[in-house]
């Protein structure tokens, strides 16, 4: 071919723009912030908050692959997170010694078990309509909680399983000070989880931007049209569910490493995990992946600091009983904040900002929709 085609020209221009855009610098800034958290804010509460944001941001992204990119509402996603947490806890806690091999095996088994279960659920339930699929996955998730609670001998029941992380990740590990930062097992675990989450996020980003990701978005828009274009939508939906569930299981394993404890409520709970994930994806915006970061940050920060407002009010205004009573019910404040976010960002923060930027772009004369130029009319019969 003589010269570059129009599509090649578009891609070249896009590549040039990629590293100059404001969002690129925002992403780098965010990455630096999370990298520097243990150095700048060494208090455990802050490091724990940052870790929870990172873990849930990536968990929300894995849920977004199902809901935002494929249009599948699954209430069973939290179950896969729990399966990952339990697999790691079994291997380095209840049934094995804390070693790197066992840790790696825990993640491998988590991935295999979740893939098998996700495929089974897909084949059994994907043929029903969306709402029934959501209800079936909710029932399966509830069943998993009951099993984890009742099979005390196997899972530890409601008491759960405590686990010790191996080698440099052990709580007792301490390498001393380096540039004012105490290098402990916690710090190593923080960076291991952070880099693992970044890797998982990049894999998900690649997945959604691949041709396969485009097909999933087409299926989300209209299943019949995608099928008529030549895509086996059932197969693609199964791939999406399986991939999202494997990601959730791996994140669950990382979560178990961080908290050092798993039990049915904290790892499998539909209300504790799934409700949070749903709120995060609504706040951040569906079908964006990055929305998970905003959603997780909003929810985790408010959940961490809103309960403290009551103590602050007691110190500042010791006689304002009404204020104390209101702040004691911090969930009420959280509810109001959530409503405000939904009102002002109906498509989630990232979704609404993207929409606003797109509208601004469309308003420019270079891409005005009125520029349609039909060819001259032919002879009418």
């Amino acid at each position: 071919m003589a010269g570059p085609t129009p599509v090649q020209i578009f891609h070249e221009e896009e590549k040039k723009r990629q590293y100059r855009s404001g969002t690129f610098f925002l992403k780098v800034g965010l990455l630096l912030l999370f990298l520097l958290v243990p150095v700048l804010f060494p208090a455990f509460k802050t490091i724990d908050l940052a870790m929870q944001i990172v873990l849930f941001a990536v968990l929300v992204a894995s849920f977004d692959i199902l809901l935002g990119y494929t249009g599948i509402l699954s209430f069973g996603h939290g179950m896969f997170f729990g399966i990952g947490a339990y697999c790691v806890a079994f291997l380095i806690g209840k049934y094995g010694m804390p070693s790197y091999t066992n840790l790696a095996l825990g993640f491998l088994i988590a991935a295999i078990v979740s893939a098998a279960l996700a495929l089974l659920i897909s084949f059994l339930t994907l043929r029903v309509k969306t709402i029934f699929f959501a209800m079936i996955t909710l029932a399966i998730a509830e069943l998993a909680i009951i099993l984890a609670t009742k099979l005390t001998g196997f899972t530890g029941g409601e008491d759960g399983i405590s686990l010790n992380t191996p080698g440099i990740f052990a709580v007792s590990f301490n390498m001393g000070d380096f540039m004012g930062l105490e290098i402990t097992g916690r710090v190593f675990t923080y960076y291991f989880i952070l880099f693992s989450c970044i890797a998982l996020f990049l894999i998900m980003l690649r997945f959604t931007r691949s041709p396969l990701g485009r097909v999933l978005q087409a299926i989300r828009d209209n299943v019949q049209r995608a099928e008529a274009l030549g895509y086996n939508t059932f197969l693609y939906q199964s791939i999406s569910i399986t991939f999202g569930c494997i990601m959730a299981a791996l994140i669950g394993g990382l979560y178990a490493m961080w908290v050092g404890y798993v039990n049915p409520e904290s790892s499998l709970g539909v209300l504790t995990i799934m409700l949070d994930v749903l709120l995060m994806v609504i706040i951040g915006g569906m079908g964006t992946l990055y929305g998970g970061i905003i959603g997780a940050a909003f929810l985790k920060i408010t959940q961490t600091f809103l309960p403290d407002l009551q103590h602050l009010a007691m110190d500042l205004f010791p006689h304002a009983q009404l204020l104390h009573n209101v702040l004691e019910r911090w969930l009420l404040l959280f509810g109001i904040l959530f409503i405000l976010v939904v009102i002002f960002f109906p498509k989630g923060v990232i979704g609404s900002v993207n929409e606003y930027l797109l509208q601004r772009k469309m308003a420019k004369p270079t891409i005005s929709p009125s520029s349609f130029t039909p060819t001259p009319p032919g002879n009418r019969p």
Partner: protein, 245 residues
């Protein structure tokens, strides 16, 4: 069209019955599409035109009858299998993926991304210049005419030998309809077209053969030139009076 002869029949629909729920929509419909020609299915609202196309592509299952494409029965195949045999489908109401960009709509339609598809994509973008202009824009934000062009472009970017187009003029301004006519006239150089159309002007501008559908059955068939001359037939089945013309 190269390999196909002028009278070669590429698609045969024989006595097909289709139900939607409990409604018996197609009641033994039979029609065919010949190579190097545009076959038009015309008729009033509810006659079963769109159902006929959806049955051919497999989106609606036929309960009886045969659909033969290039000598092979396809009525039991799933839509994605039929599409991969080389049948493109342009649904009515500008059936695009509105949440995807123009680029994503085109790329998702490309079943394989090789040099031949890239060449077809470039040819398609030359044919529909506006798509090139709005390449990165969300398809849902395009105008009606542009959406229709995108829907057609998406169907021809693959190596389709049969293109089913459902009411491309629906909801479009007359000047845009002329652009769609021009596009279909260019497409027929590469693909056989079966067009469902209620707009008689459009049907007569691009069609070679016609089938008038009435109550799920073929009421009349023949050359489009004959239909243009037959005002009684137009008036009876298409509701066209001399005053309207």
């Amino acid at each position: 069209m190269g390999e196909q002869g002028v009278d070669e029949t590429i698609l045969e629909v024989q006595g097909v019955h289709t139900f939607i729920g409990q409604h018996h929509i197609l009641q033994g419909i039979s029609f065919d599409a010949k190579a190097d020609a545009v076959t038009v299915l015309i008729g009033r609202n509810g006659a079963g035109k769109s159902t006929a196309l959806k049955t051919v592509i497999g989106l609606l299952p036929s309960s009886k009858g045969k659909i033969i494409y290039k000598g092979k029965e396809i009525q039991k195949n799933r839509p994605f299998e039929i599409a991969r045999m080389g049948i493109g489908f342009v649904p009515e109401n500008m059936g695009i993926f509105s949440e995807l960009t123009v680029e994503e709509n085109m790329r998702v339609a490309m079943l394989v991304e090789n040099e031949a598809t890239a060449r077809r994509l470039d040819r398609t973008l030359e044919m529909f210049a506006d798509l090139k202009k709005f390449w990165k824009a969300k398809a849902g934000n395009l105008s009606g005419g542009q959406k229709q062009m995108l829907a057609i472009a998406r169907a021809i970017v693959n190596d389709t030998s049969l293109l089913l187009i459902d009411e491309p003029s629906k909801g479009l301004a007359p000047i845009i309809v002329d652009a769609v006519i021009d596009a279909i006239n260019r497409i027929k150089e590469h693909s056989v077209v079966v067009l469902v159309e209620q707009n008689f002007y459009m049907a007569s501008s691009v069609g070679d053969y016609f089938f008038i559908l009435d109550d799920g059955m073929v009421a009349h068939a023949g050359h489009v030139e004959a239909l243009i001359q037959d005002e009684a037939l137009q008036s009876k089945y298409l509701g066209i009076s001399e005053a309207e013309e």
